[in-house]
């Protein structure tokens, strides 16, 4: 199905639909996330039964600061949809979709680990990639990259995030 066609079909049910670069994006609030995903999954002409990926982006100083991104795919129709949920900086909570899509388990743990977004109702929301005693969530934009400076033939090269980008 053409993305524009899919966008129109989803637009019949939900207000915030964007079609760009051949991809359909649906923006929703976190309160309706579970209901929307159930409808997207169970409605036969949509049937988004496969969750490819869950991740997030961080935009400090903006509202909403965090966007949680769900990449859905339909096995029957071979079409894709992106669902995005905005979260405020001081309350980064979103309901877990693990009961609907078991694969979300590790993806949500990773997003908690790297962004500090809390998935309410997740069975075991724990660090997955970093050591258990790590402090902070490194993929947030206000966390520094880390690393060390380099001494090369007497010249000092600072760590990557302290260099000036052209």
């Amino acid at each position: 199905m053409k993305p524009a066609e899919l966008g129109a079909r989803i637009g019949d049910h939900f207000p915030d639909v964007l079609v760009a670069r051949g991809e359909v994006t649906l923006l929703i609030g976190r309160g309706e996330l579970i209901d929307v995903l159930v409808r997207l999954r169970d409605q036969p002409d949509l049937s988004f039964g496969f969750l490819s990926s869950v991740t997030a982006t961080d935009h400090p100083g903006k509202d909403p600061r965090f966007w949680v991104v769900y990449e859905l795919r339909s096995v029957a129709h071979a079409h894709r949809l992106r669902v995005k949920v905005g979260l405020p900086a001081d309350d980064p909570h979103v309901p877990s979709v693990t009961p609907l899509f078991p694969t979300a388990d590790w993806h949500e743990r990773e997003t908690w680990d790297l962004f500090g977004i809390v998935f309410d109702g997740h069975p075991d929301l724990d660090r997955i990639l970093l050591p258990d005693d790590w402090e902070g969530h490194p993929l947030r934009k206000d966390e520094e990259l880390g690393g060390v400076g380099t001494q090369y033939h007497g010249a000092f090269i600072p760590p990557v995030d302290e260099r000036t980008m052209p």
Partner: protein, 172 residues
């Protein structure tokens, strides 16, 4: 023990003089040198593959490059049976304590080859997750540069290590 025969150049003897000594049927050397020679003949590396370099390390052990030419095809899964640790790949902050524990479990004498630029200095991954040089955790004998180093480079590093083991000559 035919140590001096092969290593006559280290003692300043010509091959003819060494050959003369061999005919006498008696070889003299220091215990240090004899032990060092024996140690370098057959090092058993611990399997410590981490990332891309581990694949090249396996290539070095496989048919074309054939590490068994130096008696090294036997990668030991148990660190207690190994005397060489090839740190092949990037060492993350989460892996660092494991690496140190494996190193501590190896029996003396033991050597470490830091394979690849990530293990040697963090490489292109100057960031929060990667230990910026495995020499901050364990003492390193040989650094092999490259991303990943070709098996030939690893073998060159290992031969350099052999030379080091043979000539250091300290019974540890």
């Amino acid at each position: 023990m035919p140590v001096e025969r092969f290593e006559g150049h280290l003692t300043g003897h010509t091959p003819e003089e060494v050959e003369e000594e061999v005919k006498k049927g008696v070889m003299l050397t220091t215990l240090d040198r004899a032990v060092s020679w024996a140690r370098k003949q057959s090092m058993w590396p611990a399997t410590f593959g981490l990332a891309c370099c581990a694949i090249e390390m396996m290539s070095a052990g496989a048919g074309r490059y054939d590490l068994s030419r130096w008696g090294m095809e036997l990668f030991r899964a148990s660190p207690r049976q190994a005397d060489l640790m090839i740190v092949a790949g990037r060492v993350s902050q989460k892996m660092a304590p494991v690496l140190r524990r494996v190193y501590d479990q190896m029996v003396e004498p033991k050597w470490v080859v830091s394979m690849g630029v990530c293990a040697s200095a963090g490489g292109m991954f100057t960031n929060y997750a990667i230990v910026q040089g495995v020499d901050t955790i364990v003492p390193v004998d040989i650094y092999v540069p490259g991303c990943p180093p070709k098996p030939e480079m690893l073998m060159f590093g290992i031969l350099k290590l052999h030379e080091k083991v043979r000539t250091t000559g300290t019974i540890r």
